[in-house]
């Protein structure tokens, strides 16, 4: 269970090898923030299929995987682009065509299922869910009565993802990882999952990671990849804010199957790797995303 090899540094391709067709995959980050996009793109390149995605509120990571045909079961609490670009087009199209098994979850329910796995117990009692349509989407939930109060509670089964994909700031070769807040569910995914694959902006010495603050300890981490801009086009503060223009480009493309394929050809499959991806995006654009900290005005400008 513990991962104790002193050097876990692998290529992105090798890292994606930890994800098998049909796996339950937990995606770190949330919405427009620190999603494991380099790994997501690599799964597309590897033509992974039938994935069961679990997560809280997500965006392009899920939309892209669904668009690429990699997903069969969808167990996220939200997929979309909020007030920015609204509904996720590829996801929506797949959902409405019946190609996806839709098991919409709720953030807290998911948290409690992960905690059950983390605590080594087969279920957690949860207050809520009863009376909602979310309950109907989950025949695997049960019910239980409190032995003390007689209250009726939903029992949600432990959920241990096959693999968690996380993008962080720094890691050492052993797998100690530094993340900045918000941590979202990254810690819970790490401790509940069977394998944990982490990409980071930069490989660092153990002492540098320790000084920045270890959030994920090495023994829980399976493999480490150095992937600068590995969250792009989502943000990875303090390195870069999110690339709103690029997201917009994806959302526009994702409106049709053909658009999805054109996007994938141009950015993911055509260039054949992350170096190519970043070149296609353009160095100037990437550099500009780091200028958010120059001033509030610059920050606002980048996000408008």
């Amino acid at each position: 269970m513990a991962f104790t090899e002193p050097d876990k540094l692998v290529s992105l391709e090798e890292a994606a090898g930890h994800v098998a067709d049909g796996d339950v995959v937990a995606l770190g980050g949330a919405l427009s923030y620190r999603e494991p996009m380099a790994l997501v793109r690599e799964l597309v390149r590897a033509r992974r299929r039938d994935l069961h995605l679990v997560g809280s509120a997500h965006g392009i990571d899920v939309d892209l995987l669904v668009g690429a045909g990699a997903v069969r079961v969808l167990e996220e609490s939200y997929v979309g682009y909020e007030q920015d670009f609204g509904l996720a087009p590829a996801y929506r199209r797949a959902a409405e065509s019946g190609r996806l098994a839709l098991r919409e979850t709720c953030c807290y329910t998911l948290l409690q299922q992960l905690r059950a796995a983390e605590y080594g117990i087969p279920f957690m009692p949860v207050r809520g869910i009863l009376g909602t349509g979310i309950r109907d989407l989950h025949p695997e939930y049960g019910e239980i009565r409190c032995p003390f109060t007689g209250q009726r509670l939903v029992a949600v089964p432990a959920l241990a993802p096959d693999v968690a994909l996380i993008h962080g700031l720094l890691a050492d070769r052993r797998g100690n990882v530094h993340l900045a807040r918000p941590l979202v569910l990254d810690e819970r995914f790490t401790f509940a999952s069977r394998k944990v694959v982490v990409t980071v902006e930069r490989l660092a010495s153990p002492s540098e990671v320790a000084e920045a603050g270890v959030v994920l300890p090495y023994f829980a981490v399976t493999a480490v990849v150095e992937a600068p801009y590995g969250a792009h086009p989502t943000s990875c503060y303090p390195h870069y804010t999110y690339d709103r223009a690029h997201l917009g480009e994806w959302v526009k493309a994702a409106g049709t199957d053909e658009g999805v394929h054109q996007y994938l050809d141009r950015y993911v499959l055509g260039p054949g790797g992350e170096e190519g991806y970043l070149k296609s995006v353009g160095e100037d654009r990437l550099q500009a995303l780091g200028e958010w900290s120059a001033s509030d005005e610059r920050w606002k400008e980048l996000l408008s």
């Binding site: 996220e76 409405e96 009863l130 807040r181 979202v184 804010t241 920050w299």
Partner: protein, 234 residues
């Protein structure tokens, strides 16, 4: 004077007015009106409110602007502290969040909301984004302020939600008391046409925006419109 305000500003002010001083208040993601309303309240009548941002879980931040996404460091600027995801949700689960802002693609007269799907949830006609944390939160948070910006479309306030994502006062399975939920349910529903309260657990029109007529509201509302005898403009 009223002509100086946009409808968005009116809505934000109406939402802000639902907050009481000293409350712990939270909004869902993708809710810029609620974000602004909370910051307005914190700077005016509710200086002791505990303001938790909807996706960063930043505590009492001072953002320079409202970004187009809610999980952004700009909403953490000068925050006292950034709560963990777990800390916020646990707080709400034990009744420690007093008010939450929630919206819905559909909202029924009992205050149930639907952000999951139009049509059946497993084979939807339109797949909506999903409820995030609302399903659990609506069961345990002290009071809810619902909001809707597309009341006028006629498709938002409906007799029955296709799917219930977040709980109002009563569902086909039972009342929130029968289901064992400690949260108080929706207190207000603020739309771009008017403001509803929920006496006896059913939406009742209580305020109209300037330049909006009762007939307009009735035409846009998919359930039987109950009107407060003391109805007056905002």
């Amino acid at each position: 004077m009223s002509a100086d305000f946009t409808i968005d500003e009116w809505m934000c002010a109406a939402l802000a007015n639902t907050i009481r001083d000293g409350e712990v208040v939270f909004h869902g993601f993708g809710s810029p009106c609620a974000t602004i309303a909370m910051h307005v309240a914190k700077r005016t009548h509710a200086r002791h409110m505990v303001l938790v941002e909807g996706s960063t879980y930043a505590l009492d931040p001072d953002p320079a602007f409202v970004p187009p996404t809610s999980n952004d460091w700009s909403l953490m600027r000068r925050a006292v502290h950034v709560l963990r995801f777990e800390e916020l949700f646990d707080l709400a689960a034990r009744g420690g969040v007093d008010r939450m802002f929630l919206s819905g693609g559909q909202i029924d007269p009992h205050g149930n909301t639907n952000v999951t799907a139009i049509g059946p949830p497993d084979t939807p006609k339109v797949k909506l984004g999903g409820g995030g944390g609302g399903c659990n939160l609506s069961a345990t948070v002290g009071t809810l302020t619902l909001w809707a910006t597309r009341h006028r479309s006629g498709r938002t306030l409906v007799e029955r939600c296709d799917v219930i994502t977040d709980l109002g006062y009563v569902t086909p399975t039972g009342t929130r008391q029968e289901l064992g939920f400690p949260g108080g349910g929706p207190e207000w529903l603020v739309s771009e046409l008017g403001v509803f309260d929920f006496p006896d657990g059913r939406a009742r029109l209580r305020r109209l925006y300037p330049d909006v007529s009762l007939d307009e509201v009735r035409a846009a509302t998919g359930f039987e419109l109950v009107v407060d005898p003391g109805l007056r403009p905002l």
